[in-house]
Amino acid sequence: MLRLRVLTRTALLLALVTVLVLPPWAQVGDAASHREAPAISMDPEADITDFFMFRSYEPGKGDKLILIMDVIPGEEPSSGPNYWNFDPNVLYSFEIDNDGDGKANDVSFEFSFTTELRGEVTALKLPLSYLGDADAPDKLPPITKLDGPGSEGLGLRQKYSVTMVKGNDRTVIADGLIAVPSNVGPRTMPDYDALAAQGIYNLDLPGGGGRVFAGQRDDPFYIDLGATFDTLNFRRNPPLLTMAEDANDGAVDAQWFNPFGVDMLSGFNVNTIALEVPMSLIRRAGQPKIGAYASTARRNVHVIRRDGGPVDSGRFIQVQRLANPLINEVIIGTQDKDAWNAVDPQDEAQFLDYYLNPRLALALQLVFGVPAATSNRTDLRDALLKYAPTDTQLSELLRLDTTVPPTPLANQHRLGPLAHDAAGNPTPDPAGWPNGRRPKDDVTDVAVRLVGGPNYIQALAGDGVNFNDKPLTTSFPFLASPHNGRNRVHQNP
């Protein structure tokens, strides 16, 4: 017995001596009580997952410009009781450049939200945000309206305002609009689509009408995230599509299955802000091209308030921006992400090196062993940061040539300018990314090919996911209805 104890103790001491270069690791002390605020916050409400901008392809609406931003990544549809909401402390905005100087300070649309607790939920003091029973409407009316009778069960309701800013000119173009709540389930919200349709508001704007929508939608992005994340471990080796597979755009007749990838974002929702405005309101004479980005901002604060100062008075600081897809994710280096998000796109020159020497190209080359263009990518610089190669101003904006007519949804090609038919004949769709961006565009495959270079374009490299799990709609707000919380599924479509 004695020996055993000796053995343990002495060995421990030896161990400690052996590593005496480092202080002993505390055990109880680890959990001690200084104030440990979280080191890093996730901030999903300010996290923009996608930004779309295109000429409306809704029949007869080609003179409208559509701007859409999605926030809150990976909304699990069943996440009650509060589900998913916009953040009242975040300023959401679209920032637009219409004079070709690369500075997106000409027109902007700002959205700010407020949250109210109301109706049955408050009266019953239930810890639920949404209540309703389609089977017993006398006792608990289901949620069929955003306001008035039929909205009693809408306990947590968000309203928002839309402000247009042109220079120093601020105009509130709408106020008191109601955001469409998350799709809770069929008992509480028996006809969600009808409910959501009430959330599409007409706007009276100079130059014609427009519309706005804020609320939950199906996440339109499609990607084999798991395979990408697993060191580009795609489900076909090498990850190349056949000519026929690659030409499959999921159009009316097409077989509705992905060549080999799994859409990891299927069954998840996002919160969407969609805006339709007359093109004439944005476009400036003699300037066919516009550039734009989506932004979220939170108020800065003075850590220590000045005496008598208001509690909270800081100006808004951008916490995230998004123009072209995947820039923040695969172009910008980790250490610069906070900084990159905070600066305006017109100050992009400081990050030029990331564009000229894209790490994605390096990664592709390393993993697949196929040469990619890894350095001096002036082509990427010109495509992503300039209107024309002669420009000197570098701005990371999503750019749209407004003279290109929109393609009807049924004829859209997911590969945009790289599209082809099953025989390999080019069928370019000039209205797709990188000329603006539509929900249909397969930005993953296009990005892999454009960044990888000719070897990747010719070989038809891609992640094997070609479609969203829910069909897109031909009309505003263009994204599919969200999955409901009760019957949600995550599966490979």
Binding site: P38, E45, E76, K337, A339
Partner: protein, 445 residues
Amino acid sequence: MTPWQRAGAALALAVVLGAAVEVLGPSARRAEPVPGLSGAVVGGPAVPLPRTDRSIADLQGRLRANGDDRGAQTSLGLLYLQKARETADPAYYPKAEGVLRQALASAPEDPDTLVGLGVLALARHDFAGGLALGERAARASPRKSAAYGIVTDANVELGRYDEAIAAAQRMVDIRPDQSSYARASYLRELHGDVDGAIEMMQAAVDADAPGREGTEWARVQLGNLYFNAGQIDSAESTYRLSLAFLPDYFQAKAGLARAAAARGDYDQAIRLYSEATQVAPLPDLVAQLVDVYHAAGRENDAAQAQALLRAEEKLYAANGVDTDLEMALFDADHDVDAAGAAQRLQRVWQQRRSVHVADALAWATFKAGDCRAAEGYAREALRLGTRDALMLYHAGRIAACLGQVGRARALLDDVLRTNPRFSVRYASDAAVLRDQLAGEGGTVR
């Protein structure tokens, strides 16, 4: 052979190349949360804990396949730290340290890795070390918000409040979010701006999804701010909300226990404290439980809980942790070797001049019988104007001991204005003493 045929053959080999993972891995779009890459990371459902586990499992798998994946090492280290926060399980700390050190070996100035090690240093109360790591991370990446979080926390604990404010301001300038708001709130609280602190902590709560550990932590802090301002009901409903979003969250249970004790519902308080300490027997919670047992007249239970505290004290000492402030205060409260506690706190005070160290030192010195010396420390403790009823009470007792009737009365008035139910042990004492002083104006020992 075409390039792609060659590629097929080379793929197996190439997959092990860590650089590729580094490029794509941590930053892949909407990947599982990779802390340290704030902004580019996933948000998510209100049930956060399994998400941490999933991400941990995912990264463990990646590292088993490729042990040199530095990005994955750093992310895993940060996730282990998050897991330790969520579970209060210290077993994750050595693991975090292990992978973070591996990552640091291949990239000595990686800001995310340095932030992770900074969090670790702070967790084991190596504040000077944490400060150095935070500053190093900030040098490596001057616009990285999280680096300034480490610098802020370390400076607060070291009593360097101006530096802490500067770092927190820088942090919020870079990125106003939950992490920076929470720190701004704490600095406002320390400087006596209770309303501003509440406002800011509410902003921190609102700035992330409910149910996340970070959000619920902030919510409990908000509850504590209400409690310290004497708004027991608001505090209680805030704790309840936290518990609804994150069931069994021990910090919220401890908050509810404190509120129950303040209301005089000792049975409820004991039940809740016991539940909380079953999960995480943190010394401050055990100490509060002892006080409630005393208040409820359950002396046997109090003695047992006190024995537990003694054991924890020994473990702290054995682990080389500097004297825990709560334990030193407890010793002073219970007249357990107050002189010894004062001596230990003296040593701490030489290293870090925070108001909380000053307060504990003042109280222990007072209990050891030296009111004159205690007064100096009490003034240091209140130098920021912190409106903390217990600290004010300590100062009031010391002033009374020195016969400074006016000052003592003013301080005790402040105590009762701030939170008349601030302590199970001293609340009634404060009121009695206040009345006594009002009536007599004499010295009270």
